[in-house]
């Protein structure tokens, strides 16, 4: 921040032009972010107060089909009209079909009228699950082709659950009242706290190992980054296969070495599954902590250590009294970032356990509610809870960040 002096107190034309240019340069980003981030966030809030399920995403529409049936005196056109929704009414339904009036023989159904060579039917409302036949008697000599030309068109108005003004608190009461919520919160916290701390401690240890040059340093550094770089789906399935209860090598190894008597279902039993997904999180993200910590370590002045050597400090003392205070800044920033990102993690648990065996975190429960239970409203409500937590974390984050300049 040092190169930006205090903003000028009065605006000159030049400063105004610069500000205009700046906003112009940021505009595309701002617009795209607003469209894909801010708008959906508002939508989540909106949906979380609505009683809406996956099936409601398709608005109720009237559906019509036409058939000509019968011979001679029995000849008739049958219009089959139904409501696509089982429980929502459609208003102002209008059916239009080209049907020359001279072909019609006999009374028309209620609400229908022949106007010139068109048949028009109007209905005030058809309720949910409506499924009726409208029968129009025809003259016996009516030509099949003439009747069949042109499909009937139907229009109607229905409430779209997404845009109407019906609100409810049911989603929130549902998720807070289910006894599961507290356990989901507990699992989320365990996963987040231990996943974050583990990744930091492992990253610190790895950085210490590679903080001096030796022959294999480059190779090892590349290898240590593998878990972070590989696609999550690839490594998650590898873990599943390695720890498979029936054909997994890990189980075969444990049994052979006499550690376990019988095979263990690592990702399917209760406390163990959560420990496993947390270990996976640590395994996958320690490289990121390692990268940042190593970069910081290598930027520490070596004069300090030389002075400490002169004073007879032992290696552990040097680490404890010299390196750690220097690393505290990057560690606190990393802790906050990783904490927030681990809290947000979805794919890892989704792929490893699908949230079963006591590993359902808040993010997995958004997906479960919305797509497994088909209750989109409840899913959005969980998402709102997540967002609330994140706002809290971010406030803390920026408080600490502003003290830690340089990031």
């Amino acid at each position: 921040m040092s190169d930006r002096s205090r903003a000028p107190t009065h605006t000159t034309p030049l400063a105004r032009r610069e500000a205009r240019l700046a906003w112009g340069m940021m505009l595309p980003t701002l617009i795209s972010v607003a469209l894909i981030v801010v708008l959906p966030l508002l939508a989540v809030f909106w949906i979380s107060f609505k009683p809406i399920s996956l099936a409601d995403l398709r608005a109720p529409t009237p559906v019509i089909s036409e058939r000509v049936r019968g011979e001679g005196e029995e000849r008739r056109a049958e219009y089959r009209l139904r409501n696509s929704s089982q429980d929502k009414a459609i208003r102002n339904v209008v059916i239009e079909d080209s049907l020359p009036s001279d072909l019609i023989k006999g009374p028309l159904p209620d609400g229908c009228a022949a106007e010139g060579d068109r048949l028009i039917c109007r209905m005030d409302e058809i309720e949910g699950g409506y499924n009726e036949r409208l029968i129009v008697p025809l003259s016996p000599d009516a030509d099949e082709d003439e009747l069949e030309n042109g499909e009937p068109v139907v229009t109607g108005e229905a409430d779209n659950i997404l845009t109407n003004m019906e609100f409810t608190l049911k989603n929130f009461t549902l998720i807070f009242n289910s006894g599961e919520f507290m356990s989901v919160l507990g699992v989320t916290l365990f996963y987040t706290v231990f996943g974050t701390l583990g990744a930091l401690v492992a990253g610190m240890f790895a950085a210490q190992l590679l903080n001096h040059s030796f022959r294999f340093q480059g190779i090892l550094r590349g290898l240590f980054l593998f878990p972070y770089v590989a696609p999550v789906i690839a490594v998650a399935f590898s873990w599943l296969i390695l720890f498979d209860p029936f054909t997994g090598s890990a189980n075969a190894l444990l049994v052979q070495m006499g550690v376990a008597d019988e095979t263990i279902n690592f990702f399917g039993t209760r406390p163990l599954a959560l420990i496993m997904v947390t270990s996976f999180e640590i395994w996958r993200y320690f490289p990121m902590a390692f990268l940042f910590i190593l970069a910081r370590m290598q930027s520490i002045d070596s004069d300090m250590y030389e002075a400490a050597d002169m004073d007879g400090a032992s290696p552990f003392q040097k680490f404890w009294y010299l390196s750690l205070p220097q690393l505290l800044g990057i560690l606190s920033v990393l802790f906050l970032l990783r904490f927030i990102w681990t809290f947000n993690k979805f794919d890892d648990i989704f792929l490893l356990t699908g949230g079963n065996a006591g590993t359902r975190t808040l993010t997995v429960s958004v997906y479960d509610q919305a797509f497994a239970v088909s209750n989109i409203g409840a899913g959005a409500a969980v998402a709102v809870v997540i967002f609330g937590c994140l706002l809290m974390f971010s406030a803390v984050f920026f408080k600490i960040m502003s003290r830690e300049e340089g990031l």
Partner: protein, 401 residues
């Protein structure tokens, strides 16, 4: 702790622990390689390790290493060595000998140059640190390496071979090209060629779009003076913290309604938004680090701001642009959740989505792992080739100095 500050005592203690660590390492490593049953013995390792520490105190360097090699090989043959074999053959003797040699060599390095008597705190801690480093190298290398090893080896073996002995990863080289039958099938019957191309196209497009948006944005935040600049750079980070799953829900609904689901256009609308914050953050850190004087000189010479950016700033920040591109490419290539939710037409699958479709009981796990290898290899090659680049770019702006 003070009681341990002599050469002999710490050599016996660390030797015992070290032998146990090495015995476990060897048993696991060679079980994975050969599939032969063997197991480390806790008590025997501790006893032999302690004895080895004592011997090191008494003997010269090469005598000690040779003696350790012979002794551990002999005890292995007799059946009471640190690693116990179900049946000992020439291979087993070789493994036991190698264990003895490694033990002698590494323990000697651990205590290299220490006086054979009282140790100062300094000297003692140096030995302990070497011991811990050795442990660290073993643990980290094993933890990182094993899942990838399992991935590659599983992709080369068929179901029945795997069921027979899950530990036997020895590859039957007589099969020749038949080893890669899974890969061949994925490319011929499972459309993996299409997926690979789709993933590549989408990732490259994401990089281009991201750079187009984030270069001007990052420059404005880093260099230009306007009211709200600090707020802007904060909000960038804030976007970084919105979980994808929260956005995925309304995006899924909106895309279902507008027909953008299951289309490259839809994917290319969303991917850049997940990567722009990262790119903005990395680039602004880099732009801040560039000396402002060069740009000011350009301005003095009558260039406009935009010309300065094009002719001075961008050429200077090529390394940063390269590492940002790489990182964005990696994110897009590895992205799974959005692809999983938004793509249902196999002609449009990305690699990650394609692998997810292999996860069914009808398809052998060999294919699943082969697919994983196909998705992992390109990104690994790119990364290893440009790793130094990446490290610099990733940590730019976060490190003072």
């Amino acid at each position: 702790m003070k009681i341990l500050h002599t050469y002999l005592r710490s050599a016996v203690l660390l030797g015992a622990l070290w032998m146990f660590i090495l015995a476990v390492t060897f048993a696991v490593a060679f079980s994975f390689i050969t599939g032969d049953p063997m197991r480390p013995s806790l008590w025997l390792s501790l006893i032999w390790g302690a004895a080895g520490g004592g011997l090191m105190f008494a003997a010269s360097r090469w005598t000690f290493i040779a003696a350790a090699t012979v002794a551990i090989a002999a005890t292995g043959l007799a059946g009471f060595g640190p690693v116990i074999f179900a049946q000992i053959g020439p291979g087993g003797i070789f493994i036991a000998g190698l264990l003895g040699f490694s033990f002698g060599w590494t323990l000697d390095v651990m205590f290299g140059g220490l006086p054979r008597g009282k140790l100062s705190r300094h000297e003692w801690e140096a030995a302990v640190i070497r011991f811990l480093s050795g442990l660290g190298y073993i643990v980290f290398t094993a933890a990182v390496f094993i899942p990838f090893y399992v991935m590659v080896m599983t992709s080369l073996k068929n179901q029945s071979e795997l069921m027979l002995n899950p530990l036997d990863f020895s590859v039957d080289l007589s099969k020749g090209w038949g080893l890669f039958s899974s890969y061949y099938e994925l490319f011929t019957k499972f459309n993996f060629d299409t997926y690979l191309l789709n993933s590549f196209m989408i990732s490259v497009m994401t990089v281009i779009v991201t750079l187009m948006f984030s270069i001007p944005g990052a420059y404005a935040v880093a260099r230009l003076r306007f009211r709200g600049a600090a707020l802007m750079s904060r909000s960038i980070l804030l976007i970084y913290m919105v979980p994808i799953i929260v956005l995925a829900l309304p995006i899924y609904i909106a895309f279902s309604m507008t027909g953008l689901r299951n289309s490259f256009v839809g994917i290319l609308m969303i991917y850049p938004v997940t990567t722009i914050p990262v790119a903005l953050y990395m680039l602004q850190g880099y732009f801040r680090g560039l000396p402002a004087e060069i740009e000011e000189a350009g301005l003095m010479d009558g260039l406009s701001r935009l010309q300065v950016i094009r002719k001075i700033t961008l050429p200077l920040s090529l390394p940063a642009l390269a590492s940002v591109s790489l990182y964005v490419f990696m994110i897009a290539w590895n992205e799974f959740l959005l692809a999983f939710m938004l793509l249902d037409d196999p002609g449009k699958f990305t690699l990650t989505r394609g692998i997810a479709s292999l996860n069914s009981s009808e398809i052998p796990r060999q294919h699943l792992m082969a697919g994983s290898v196909i998705a992992t290899i390109p990104i690994m090659l790119i990364f290893l080739g440009l790793e130094r680049f990446m490290t610099k770019g990733l940590t730019a702006g976060s490190v003072k100095g």
